[in-house]
């Protein structure tokens, strides 16, 4: 680097201290002449091996290579992005700046976390617009039909009124769930923690889900409490009840006709594990990992049928709320499921400390 304005030692020091970013110097043939810390990990090669290697050989990335070539041929700075690392699993913003001697400085700034956040936000907006638009569209359609003359027909008008009410209920529930979720997520809800008797919580949930289950011909069973265990969990009874009720609702909704919902609790390594089991359709392995995400639905069409049967359902936020409630308690959630046999959802909460 004859035209390098910095001396070698100073430059080496600069390469090492660019907080988190990876710096590379490449020559006019796009061969690496210097590589900063992090390049070795990213390419899975010892740093010494990288020197003299071409950019494409070292990183195997078409966008990175194209960006560097553009900066080299146009002799002007170039900006872009590239997925690098093993299996291209890490996203980087790349700055290529030509030096006077024909070389290029490449600065790689990792944006993997930013990308993930963007994806979550994008999915959220897509989902929420879909969830809002669908009921709005049916309400509008029915209102139009009514004003076009259907209002004269008492039977149709009555039927439409019931449907409009159901759609509006669905929207209202969606808005309520959204507010709930955003409050829990932002940490604005303060939990009123107190020692809670797990048996009382479970019995309360069973009582509240009873009528819904009965309407669908689903039996609700309370599992016997563990013998000789006097456990108290540290919980906000209202929030915990809400979480378990959400699980119980799903257990009814996705059950087979004549199936059963079993509610119970047991001692576990983390404290107390509340379980909600059903005899439903089950959830396949890949879905199990994502089911606690906002708006994640295993099968939209199936959920829709069940919604109609139970008279309105959740918008895919229920399990996300359950997860957030559990996590706000310092607990966790999970599911075990066998397809066509059923699922067991659980919420695990820590025990209350000695009073």
């Amino acid at each position: 680097m004859s035209t390098d304005p910095l001396d070698a030692a100073a430059f080496a020091a600069l390469l090492e201290r660019t907080a988190g970013d990876i710096l590379l110097i490449i020559d006019d043939q796009l061969r690496i002449t210097r590589a900063g810390a992090g390049a070795a990990v990213l390419t899975q090669r010892p740093a010494g091996e990288l020197i003299g290697m071409s950019l494409i050989a070292a990183f195997g990335s078409a966008p990175l290579d194209a960006l560097a070539r553009r900066a080299a041929s146009e002799r002007s700075p170039s900006l872009g992005e590239a997925d690098l690392g093993p299996r291209g699993g890490r996203a980087f913003a790349v700055d290529a700046v030509p030096l006077t001697g024909g070389e290029l400085v490449l600065a790689l700034h990792e944006i993997t976390a930013l990308r993930r956040a963007e994806r979550v936000r994008r999915d959220f907006v897509t989902n929420i617009s879909h969830e809002l638009r669908t009921p709005l569209a049916s309400v509008k359609l029915m209102a139009e039909t009514l004003s076009a003359g259907a209002v004269e027909d008492a039977a149709t008008a009555g039927q439409f009124a019931v449907q409009i009410e159901r759609e509006v209920d669905h929207l209202a529930q969606l808005v309520a769930e959204l507010l709930d979720l955003s409050m829990i997520e932002s940490g604005e809800t303060t939990l009123r923690l107190e020692p809670v008797d797990p048996t009382t919580v479970i019995a309360d949930v069973a009582e509240r889900i009873g009528p819904v289950a009965a309407r669908r011909g689903i039996a609700v069973q309370l599992l016997p409490e563990p013998e000789g265990v006097e456990a108290r969990v540290s919980a906000d009874a209202g929030r915990l009840g809400q979480a378990l009720l959400n699980l119980a609702h799903n257990a009814v909704k996705y059950n087979r006709p004549g199936g059963e919902v079993r509610l119970g609790w047991e001692s576990s390594a983390g404290g107390v594990r509340f379980t909600v089991a059903d005899d439903g359709i089950g959830i396949s392995e890949p879905h199990q990992q994502r089911i606690f995400e906002r708006f994640y639905k295993v099968d939209r069409s199936r959920a829709q049928e069940s919604d109609d049967a139970t008279g309105g359902g959740s918008a895919g936020l229920g399990l996300a709320i359950v997860r957030h409630i559990a996590e706000a308690h310092g607990g966790s959630v999970g599911v075990r499921s066998v397809e066509r046999e059923g699922s067991v959802f659980w919420v695990e909460l820590p025990l209350a400390g000695p009073a």
């Binding site: 290697m53 494409i56 195997g60 299996r87 291209g88 099968d299």
Partner: protein, 235 residues
């Protein structure tokens, strides 16, 4: 590292000192272009499979358009190699390296075509009622790409061992393909109205399986480059 800088190079007579580095440089350029081709194909495979899973018609369209870059680059590699052989008359290891690169580029170009076919299937599937993509397909895509990366690395390092390891991974891909085959038949039997989706997915898996075979061929090219032996590593 075994880089094989070509001891038994071209016979260049008097100009040896001056011309030798030029040939080395040209060879290195060709190799970089083959690696570029590999990187383009890897990206195309990833994007085609993503378009399939996410029903992203526009992304699939981009993949189809960008196949022209792959074809163009392969043509220019062919030209460079042909001209190098004609002008410099390389022998022994150098000619082996050029032949291996020539063949690898041809394989990569075909792999680009498979990615394009998957992108077309993505567009056809997006026109049908939604049916979840068999989970084995993204798995096959990840496996294909990691094998392709490994093959490109074997080429960079001129490593016989790495090349043999690439070929060994192909069995897993074959097993996944068989499992997609079974799943497709099962879906057609259960829901005859989903026969189109099942067939499209089966074809996508078939293309991925073929992609894997082509990666194996590149592994064989690397083995040929190192040993001079032509071996069938995927019998």
């Amino acid at each position: 590292m075994d880089r094989g800088s070509g001891q038994a190079g071209v016979s260049l007579g008097h100009g040896h000192e001056r011309l030798r580095p030029t040939f080395e440089q040209a060879l290195a350029n060709v190799k970089d272009n083959v690696l570029r081709l590999g990187a383009l194909v890897e990206r195309a495979v990833e994007r085609a499979a993503r378009a399939l899973v996410e029903r992203d018609v526009e992304l699939a369209d981009q993949v189809r358009w960008e196949d022209a870059d792959v074809n163009e680059l392969q043509r220019s590699i062919n030209q460079e190699i042909t001209s190098l052989i004609a002008r410099q008359g390389p022998v022994a290891r150098d000619v082996r390296e050029l032949l291996a690169l020539y063949h690898a580029a041809a394989e990569l170009e075909r792999m680009g075509d498979y990615a394009t076919s998957i992108a077309k299937l993505a567009q056809q599937l997006a026109a049908e009622p939604e049916e979840p993509i068999f989970r084995q397909i993204p798995e096959m895509e990840r496996l294909c790409r990691s094998q392709l990366r490994a093959a490109m690395r074997a080429l960079v390092d001129v490593s016989e061992q790495q090349a043999r390891d690439v070929c060994a991974g192909d069995d897993e891909l074959d097993a996944l393909y068989k499992s997609v085959y079974e799943a497709s038949i099962a879906l057609m039997e259960k829901s005859p109205d989903r026969a189109r989706q099942a067939t499209h997915m089966l074809f996508a898996a078939h293309h991925l399986e073929r992609l894997g075979d082509r990666v194996t061929n590149i592994g064989e090219d690397v083995v040929f480059l190192v040993t001079g032996q032509i071996e069938d590593l995927n019998p």
